[in-house]
Point group: C2
Chain length 182, copies 2
């Protein structure tokens, strides 16, 4: 097996924003040559596969400026400083959808774009959902539309590329696999 | 349903690199307030679920500077300027693993990090694999170790977080689903 590690020779901080920061690193490759790596630092995020008692998947329609369009995603959000992922998942589910959950379990964590970013998403499954009375109030500043869909409808939304992101595609496929293994 | 669109008021170009560029956009929210969006532009990428005749999944171990570690991924790579995704998938599979494929079909495309980046990954399934004689030579500048694993081994690698990225997690789950539906 080849040695693959890249050693950092120099780091240039380009940008430090509210969500992401950007640095360019000069690295020494395994063959001794040098190259540059453009790297985004991200605080990490959570996402929640939230299933209602009548087996609907709770999703949010949201405008994504990076894509210049709305897409339909599972509820998700960035980790606050020092926030524990499970607590963040419970918070984001409530803030975006108005649902409290009785049960929430970690499913998987994955890096979304390892070629240029360190964003790690922690995925949870939530059940025992109860609508909070003040859900409408919570939604005020979120700018999302809550949609509840069956698994079959979610698969159609994927085909239509209305569901169009990695974590939600993984979530829908997870529910398809769970269904197939019943 | 609420209107969700965010209008661009001003765009500031922060960085334009070899792979990504970064811009900060001032936007008008649906409620008339303004906010800032930090957005990464990326050329897009392809990834390949490559299955050998004896049903092994071809993967590559690769150092990811953004993560400061190696992970095991399905073969993948960025789109060159004006490159068509299918051709890119065939090229990346050969360059990284030395395999030519007789069949290659599009499976799904998804955005990896819609909250801050426009990176779209196109996922393909390749079969009818033949090792090219000059594979070793092609590998010289790639700095990857090719590993061929069974589906069971891939699931274990996910549990051990050696497989640790969204596209590869989706790929392994796709093969689990295919297996369950047999």
């Amino acid at each position: 097996m080849k040695s693959l590690e890249e050693k950092t020779l120099h780091t240039e901080q380009i940008f430090s924003g509210r969500v992401i920061s950007l640095q360019v690193e000069e690295v020494e490759l395994p063959n001794g040559k040098t190259s540059k790596r453009e790297i985004i630092k991200h605080p990490g995020a959570v996402a929640v596969i939230a299933i209602t008692d009548d087996e609907k998947i709770v999703m949010v329609e949201q405008y994504r400026k990076a894509l210049e369009r709305t897409i339909i995603e599972i509820p998700a959000g960035k980790l606050e400083k020092d926030e524990e992922p499970k607590g963040c998942a419970i918070r984001e589910l409530e803030e975006e959808t108005g649902y409290e959950c009785q049960n929430i379990d970690w499913l998987i964590s994955f890096y979304t774009s390892p070629g240029f970013a360190d964003e790690l998403v922690h995925l949870y499954v939530a059940t025992g959902l109860k609508k909070k009375i003040d859900a409408a109030a919570l939604d005020e500043d979120e700018f999302v539309n809550v949609v509840e869909v069956s698994l079959g409808e979610a698969v159609e939304l994927m085909k239509d590329q209305k569901i169009y992101d990695a974590k939600t595609a993984f979530a829908v496929q997870y529910l398809q696999l769970k269904d197939a293994l019943k």
